[in-house]
């Protein structure tokens, strides 16, 4: 248990370090920060002068060393456009995204596991076919188009919900539904497959022959063992949702969250903020992995002994 935890911790640290490093080098090697910060008409001498002042004329490894030693102390430098620390700018919009994300993930997980169990318990039935078809539809949805269609139908045509903005519960409905669609489809697929596998195992026959009700067999016996792949998938989808889908959904619905701010930082080429946001995203992935591991340990007592 202790060894496993240390191993995971090492992996997490490496992951955060790796992501930050990759984003640093792609930004500073492949793009010229000075060209981004100054207007195109700046005379060349002034560009060079500015480059020296900012320290961008030094070898890239020297700059990287300075950056990474500061980053280790959570100092990612100031934003280029707003004079405040980048990490603060990266963290500020995060609660808004979490607000959407938690509701969407809860919705997708509960509905997904429910539908997946229901379908997996009756493979080949009409209900199963319906659930399978809907899950394929869910995973095939192009998010960019789906968000716009939802806005068109529910806000423009029916006038039921606000098109964009932040504040009331009504503003949350469309972003949550669009964020939940894809994870919901995947959760149904993985739950169904996992439960079908479990139900074919000998211990299920034992449980049934003991005279337990089908409900108990599925909910208490099969589900517990089917859980690990489902939890892994939900964890992965949550990470994707918070750091990927949110960029598109929040941009369309004008939700002032992490994805919206990240896209803004990318468009304005605010490199310190982009790197700080990549750091936050990596941190989110690590935290989700820890939560998934904890659920593993709760679901499967044998892990505790390893």
């Amino acid at each position: 248990m202790y060894k496993l935890a240390m191993h995971r911790l090492g992996h997490s640290a490496l992951l955060i370090f790796g992501v930050v490093t990759v984003v640093f080098f792609t930004n500073f090697l492949l793009g010229d920060p000075v060209r981004v910060m100054l207007p195109a008409s700046t005379p060349p001498e002034a560009v060079e002068e500015f480059r020296r002042q900012m320290g961008f004329d030094r070898p890239i490894l020297v700059q990287y060393w300075e950056f990474i030693t500061r980053a280790a102390l959570l100092d990612f430098g100031d934003s280029w456009w707003q004079k405040s620390p980048s990490l603060e700018i990266a963290l500020r919009p995060f609660p808004a995204t979490l607000q959407l994300g938690i509701v969407a993930i809860a919705l997708a997980s509960l509905l997904g596991i429910g539908i997946g169990l229901f379908a997996g318990a009756r493979p080949g039935s009409t209900w199963d076919k319906l659930a399978t078809s809907l899950s394929i539809l869910g995973v095939s949805l192009p998010l960019i188009w789906f968000t716009l269609m939802m806005a068109l139908v529910f806000s423009v045509w029916l006038g039921l919900l606000p098109t964009a903005g932040y504040g009331t519960a009504g503003h949350m409905v469309l972003p949550v539904v669009t964020l939940a669609a894809l994870p919901l489809g995947r959760t149904v697929q993985i739950t169904r497959a996992s439960i079908i596998d479990e139900l074919a195992k000998p211990y299920i026959t034992t449980a049934r022959s003991k005279g337990l009700s089908e409900r108990t067999v599925i909910l208490r016996h099969a589900l517990r063992n089917a859980l690990p792949p489902i939890v892994t998938e939900i964890g992965w989808e949550s990470a994707l949702l918070l750091t990927g889908y949110s960029i598109i959904v929040e941009s369309v619905f004008g939700w002032p969250g992490f994805g919206f701010s990240l896209y803004h930082a990318i468009l304005t080429r605010d490199m310190p903020v982009i790197i700080a946001m990549a750091f936050v995203a990596a941190l989110v992935v690590v935290l989700i992995n820890i939560i998934v591991d904890i659920i593993y340990v709760i679901a499967d007592p044998t892990i505790r002994k390893t």
Binding site: H11, L14, G124, L143, T243, G244
Partner: protein
């Protein structure tokens, strides 16, 4: 599960490959959805390959007098522009057909690069084992645990949008999946009973590879490839929509959605149509892949 696996694999008799293909088609065509999906996907591929012949108009030609024309079934629409025109009076149907060439072409290129490289690395890793395998798997674990979309977006922003850059970035995101999959298949096949049996029965290595191992590697790899293609089409559309993918005025589905985004209220067809094309593509791929997995995997056949 294990006992079922062994029972069904040992009962598989060696059959000629022609018979095998017939069997496959027979099994596959029983499913109407899957057949429809395959036909639709083939039509999309053909129209992309022969886009210049199929498209009724030049996708780049502007006709400002006929801008934002609705599709034929809406009042004011005409047969000249069946699916209507966009803000610059370009024919949406033609742009969607050429957009398919872009999206599927990028998908094919990414799979050609990432898929081939990844599969080779995976097979090699499974075959060699040892330190090479350990290091490669550590790296792949690392890359797979990062949600790649954010990284792809920042990399594209740094190196600038464009088709070639897009293909490179998507390939880098794609190869570890193929590597891991190919490796796991290599590892699991190595210890399979029927391989052992073929060897004990005096089968030559080459015959074992082509007749027993290859058919087993191929079908899961085809499934992975098709699913990956659908994912790549979606990612490409998202990146293009965010302005970090295909550059205008090249027709690409995601880009078309973005260009028409601001006119959603007055010309929703300009947004709807390219979106429907993306949806049809991913849907037909996903239905096909789901069915393919069932048809080609003998272990799955009895289940559905």
């Amino acid at each position: 599960m294990n006992s079922i696996k062994m029972a069904s694999t040992s009962s598989v008799r060696p059959i000629r490959s022609a018979q095998r293909i017939l069997d496959f088609l027979n099994h596959f065509s029983r499913d109407k959805f899957a057949t429809a999906a395959l036909v639709i996907f083939s039509a999309l591929v053909l129209s992309s390959v022969f886009a210049d012949l199929v498209a009724p108009h030049d996708p780049l030609k502007q006709d400002l007098l006929n801008r934002l024309k609705p599709p034929v079934w809406v009042e004011g629409g005409s047969w000249t522009y069946v699916l209507g025109t966009d803000l610059l009076g370009r024919d949406i149907l033609s742009r969607c057909i050429h957009g398919g060439r872009m999206s599927l072409g990028i998908g094919a290129a990414v799979i050609a690069m990432g898929g081939v490289f990844g599969s080779l690395m995976g097979l090699l890793s499974g075959y060699l084992g040892g330190r090479f395998d350990a290091i490669l798997m550590r790296y792949i674990d690392f890359q797979i645990s990062i949600p790649y979309f954010l990284l792809a977006l920042t990399i594209m922003a740094a190196i600038g949008p464009g088709t070639l850059n897009l293909i490179i970035v998507l390939s880098i995101g794609s190869w570890p999946l193929f590597a891991r999959y190919a490796r796991s298949i290599m590892m699991s096949l190595r210890n399979q009973v029927f391989i052992e049996a073929a060897r004990v029965a005096g089968g030559k290595e080459v015959a074992i590879m082509t007749r027993h191992v290859l058919p087993n590697i191929l079908s899961p790899l085809i499934t992975l490839t098709t699913l990956e293609l659908s994912r790549i089409v979606l990612t490409e559309a998202s990146l293009s929509y965010l302005g970090m993918g295909v550059r205008p005025p090249t027709p690409a589905w995601g880009l078309m959605v973005q260009e028409a985004h601001d006119y959603l209220m007055i010309a929703n067809w300009a947004v709807t149509t390219p979106g429907v094309f993306i949806m049809i593509t991913t849907l037909s791929i996903n239905i096909f892949a789901t069915r393919l997995r069932i048809s080609t995997d003998p272990l799955q056949r009895g289940k559905h």
